[in-house]
């Protein structure tokens, strides 16, 4: 199908974009990479009165690191994030995650901010935002505010952003250089929506684990960080018994969806299996420039 009619706006500044958004009182949609919004418009699941296209606003795609915080402009393309040396060095879990996001041609357009604001339950970038305790900067015509990952995701395709707000930047604390990390995902085909995904970051010395970060995607209505699983690993280490306990705990803690792709029971089972695999993969993979 084809999209319904809409007013098209291509503002040159973020202030102009915010003013237009406010004027439409919730009837306008912000267009970033369009890899989710335009399909929804083609299906007429979304028929916004207006589109506010961010693609011609300069300065919204910068990537830098200041005082241990990596800042990524909302319009940074997933393809560029995948290749950016700064991110490969400071946020390798995010770089790796891009590989799982759609396909190369969708990553050409798809943005980090768009993926987070869209909040698809199966999306990898929101899962990484949870795992690495990131936050987003959100602006309206009146104010700017920060929203931490746990407060951002409300439900499927629903975030804490108000209709007059635009997500402008994503921030992550740099990963410690000694951290090891992994993503494990189960999908029907490469590039399909994740039925279950796990992201993990660990700092360990042999079987002793000093820091664990653990988040899920695709399993429940929103990506979640499972602190109790982290606690199991931090308290009991990375031995076989601890791994089994962590996997069981992860499967208990998730709130799995049931849909045409997989039953809730299957997603719970996958949670346990992928938890174990992700931890083992993180420990086994020794990135070339890392001490882990």
């Amino acid at each position: 199908m084809k999209p319904a009619k809409f007013d098209y706006h291509s503002p040159a500044t973020i202030d102009e974009a915010l003013a237009i958004l406010e004027r439409y009182q919730g009837e306008a949609r912000v267009l970033a990479g369009g890899q989710s919004l335009v399909p929804m418009m083609n299906f007429r699941i979304a028929s916004p009165a207006a589109i506010v296209d961010l693609n011609r606003i300069p300065g919204l795609a910068d990537i830098d690191a200041v005082d241990g915080i990596v800042r990524i402009g909302a319009m940074a393309r997933q393809r560029r994030i995948e290749a950016a040396p700064l991110l490969r060095e400071r946020l390798p879990l995010l770089s790796d995650a891009m590989h799982w996001v759609g396909h190369l041609p969708t990553r050409t357009r798809g943005t980090i901010g768009g993926s987070i604001a869209h909040a698809d339950p199966s999306a990898e970038i929101p899962m990484i935002l949870q795992a690495l305790a990131g936050e987003v900067i959100v602006r309206s015509a009146q104010r700017e505010r920060r929203i931490a990952a746990p407060d951002l995701f409300i439900g499927p395709l629903t975030t804490a952003l108000a209709s007059d707000e635009i997500l402008t930047e994503v921030r992550f604390p740099e990963m410690p250089t000694e951290a090891c990390y992994a993503i494990e995902e189960f999908a029907r085909r490469k590039g399909d929506f994740a039925i279950a995904a796990i992201a993990v970051m660990l700092i360990h010395d042999g079987e002793r684990c000093t820091t664990a970060r653990f988040a899920t995607g695709g399993i429940g209505p929103v990506p979640v960080r499972l602190r109790e699983v982290e606690a199991v690993l931090e308290q009991r280490g990375l031995g076989e018994a601890a791994l089994a306990a962590a996997s069981d705990r992860a499967a208990e803690l998730v709130d799995p969806m049931s849909d045409h792709n997989a039953s809730a029971d299957f997603r719970r089972h996958l949670t346990a299996v992928l938890t174990r695999r992700a931890v083992l993969k993180a420990i086994k993979d020794r990135p070339h420039d890392r001490t882990c």
Binding site: K2, F6, D7, Y8, N42, L104, P105
Partner: protein, 164 residues
């Protein structure tokens, strides 16, 4: 703006102009307004990849962009790959390895594969398969497409080496 918008862009090295509603998809503009029907429309929601084109040098799905967004952009469609009667090495490899049956996905296959070969000029079979997962083919079972991309990549490497 609510009414029709002017579009000006470069397609296959030529400046082209048109006028359309903002809701017009880029692929429809390419096919209907510019008359370049080599780019195909399959699923119309960014999944099948038949509509894949080069947009400022990188592959995109043209069914999930609006034509108005491509103002001033440089596009390359499947019509822009051959030089006159001389097929692009990848097209030649598709021909020689019988890498198509109905041919519907072929424009997208060619562009998606070329885009990947720019990043990785000498891919393994697994890497080719993963790159081709961006485009759906319902006839071939992919076997000959994978062979063709492998052969095309080699031909492209040799022609690059020959240029030096």
């Amino acid at each position: 703006m609510t009414g029709p918008v002017d579009i000006r862009l470069t397609v296959n090295g030529q400046t082209r102009e048109g006028r359309c509603e903002p809701r017009k998809l880029l692929v429809d503009f390419i096919r209907e307004d510019l008359g370049l029907t080599g780019t195909h429309i399959g699923c119309e929601h960014g999944v099948c990849g038949a509509c894949t084109i080069f947009y400022n040098g990188e592959a995109v799905r043209s069914c999930i962009m609006f034509a108005v967004q491509a103002y001033d952009a440089e596009l390359v469609t499947v019509e822009g790959l051959a030089e006159g009667d001389k097929l692009h090495p990848l097209q030649q490899a598709f021909h020689e390895h019988h890498a198509l049956q109905c041919g519907y996905c072929t424009p997208g296959m060619l562009i998606a594969a070329l885009d990947y070969l720019k990043i990785n000029a000498d891919p393994t079979e697994d890497e080719i398969r993963e790159a081709l997962s961006a485009v759906l083919c319902r006839c071939t079972g992919y076997v000959n497409i994978v062979k063709a991309v492998k052969a095309g990549a080699e031909a492209m490497r040799q022609s690059t080496a020959g240029d030096k």
